[in-house]
C-alpha cells in the first residue's frame, strides 16, 4: 500500500515537472497579484507594512484556488482516477497522496517565495520567518479543503468558478490565523498561539479531509 502511495506522489510530481507551465502559472499569479497592490495603494511604507501580511495571504489563497480544478480533473478525464479507486490502497490514502503532491508543487513554492514578496512591503526581516512558517502550515490546509471542493465539482461544467465559491468561505479561518500570526509578531506579542492554532487546523484537516474527498470522488465516478 505504501508503494502505491509513493508511486502516486512520484507520478504527480513527474507530471508537474513535464507540464511545468501549469505549476508556474499559479506561482507567477501569486507574484503578480502581490506586486500589483503596492502599485495600486501607493508607496507609503507604514501603510504597506501594515497591509503586507493580509495581502500576501490573500494572494496565496487566490493562487492556490487557481491550481485546484486540475487536481482531479485530468485523472478523471483519462480514466486513471478509476484505476486509483481500484488500486491496492484505500481511496482516502490515495487522495491524501495526491493532495501532498499538489501541495509540494503549489503551496511549498509559495511559502518559499513569500519572504521575497515581503521585501516589497518593507516587512521587517525578523517577520519573514513567521510569514514563511504560517504559509507552510496554512497552505496544506488550503490544499486539503480545496481538494474537497475539487472532488465535489468533478465533471461539472464551469466547475472552476463554483469551486472557488465553495472553498473560499471555508478558508476564512486559515486566512485569519495566517495573516494574524504575522500581525501578532509585528506587534511584539509572539505568533506562537496563532501558529499553534494553524497547526491544529492542519492536523484536523489532514485527518478528516481525505475521507470527505474520497466520498466525493466515489460519487463523481458512479
Amino acid at each position: 500500500m505504501l508503494e502505491a502511495l509513493r508511486a502516486i506522489v512520484a507520478r504527480d510530481l513527474l507530471l508537474a515537472l513535464r507540464r511545468s507551465s501549469d505549476v508556474g502559472t499559479a506561482l507567477l499569479f501569486f507574484v503578480i497579484v502581490a506586486s500589483l497592490i503596492p502599485l495600486g495603494v501607493g508607496p507609503e511604507p507604514n501603510l504597506l507594512r501594515a497591509i503586507a501580511p493580509g495581502v500576501i495571504w490573500i494572494a496565496a489563497l487566490l493562487a492556490s484556488m487557481l491550481s485546484l480544478p486540475r487536481l482531479f480533473a485530468a485523472d478523471h478525464a483519462d480514466g486513471t482516477l478509476e484505476q486509483m479507486l481500484l488500486g491496492a490502497a484505500p481511496l482516502g490514502a490515495v487522495v491524501a497522496a495526491k493532495v501532498l503532491a499538489h501541495w509540494l508543487v503549489t503551496g511549498l513554492p509559495l511559502a518559499a517565495i513569500a519572504p521575497v514578496i515581503a521585501l516589497q512591503y518593507d516587512l521587517p526581516a525578523p517577520l519573514f520567518g513567521v510569514l514563511a512558517v504560517s504559509l507552510l502550515l496554512g497552505t496544506p490546509v488550503l490544499s486539503l479543503i480545496g481538494a474537497i471542493g475539487a472532488a465535489l465539482t468533478l465533471g461539472l461544467r464551469g466547475g472552476g468558478a463554483l469551486l472557488a465559491l465553495l472553498v473560499l468561505p471555508l478558508c476564512v479561518p486559515v486566512l485569519i490565523l495566517g495573516a494574524g500570526s504575522v500581525d501578532m509578531a509585528a506587534a511584539g506579542q509572539g505568533a506562537a498561539t496563532h501558529l499553534m492554532l494553524l497547526g491544529a487546523l492542519l492536523l484536523a484537516a489532514a485527518a478528516l479531509a481525505p475521507w470527505a474527498v474520497a466520498a466525493a470522488v466515489r460519487i463523481a465516478l458512479e
Binding site: 480514466g79 486509483m84 491496492a88
Partner: protein, 202 residues
Amino acid sequence: MLEAAELECERGGRRLFHSLSFTLRAGGLLRVSGANGSGKTSLLRILCGLLPPARGEVRWNGERIRELREDYSGQLIYIGHAPSIKDDLTAAENLDIACRLSGRVLDEARLQGALREFGIEEKDIFVKRLSQGQRRRAALARLALSAGSPLWLLDEPFAALDADAARLLEDAVAAHVARGGLVVYSTHQESRIGGRLISLDA
C-alpha cells in the same frame, strides 16, 4: 468465484437491466453483449465495484465486494473505455505506475517485455505521440503482468485494435482462462474467443 445475484441497474431514471444473475467459476469466460446503451459498461462497472447496483449484489468467493473493497479490487484488472494512461508519461512509465497502484513493483525488463508482447517497441516515447490503437495496446499490456489478478474485466477490449492486436488479446485471454483465471468482457461484435453469453438486449 464471481457471483452476481439479482442485479438491477438504473441510469438516468431508466432501468437498463434487472434480475441478472450468474456465477463464474475459475477458468470461466463470460461475454456480455448488447446494443449500444444496453448497459454493458454499467454491468462491468458494477462488477468491479465502481458503481453500486440499484438492487442485488456481487460476491467474490462468497463475500460481498462492498465489504471487501481493496481486498477485492486488488484481485482484478479493469480496463474500461478510457485508456487509463497519462499522455505526458511514456508507455513504460504508465505500465510501471499501473502495477505499483495494484501493489506490485516490477523491474524494467519485465515492463519492457510486457510492452513488447503487445507490440509497443517505442518504449521511451510519450503516449501523446502514439496512435489510438497503440495507446490501447499500451493499456492492454497490463494484462501481460497480471500474475496475482485472477479476475479480468474488459470493457470493449477490441475497440480500436487492428487484427494483430486483436489476436494478441485473444491469445492472452485464452491463456489466462487456461491458467484458471476469470474473464468478463463486453463486445458488440462477434469475437473468436467466445465464452458464455449474457445478452442485455431485452
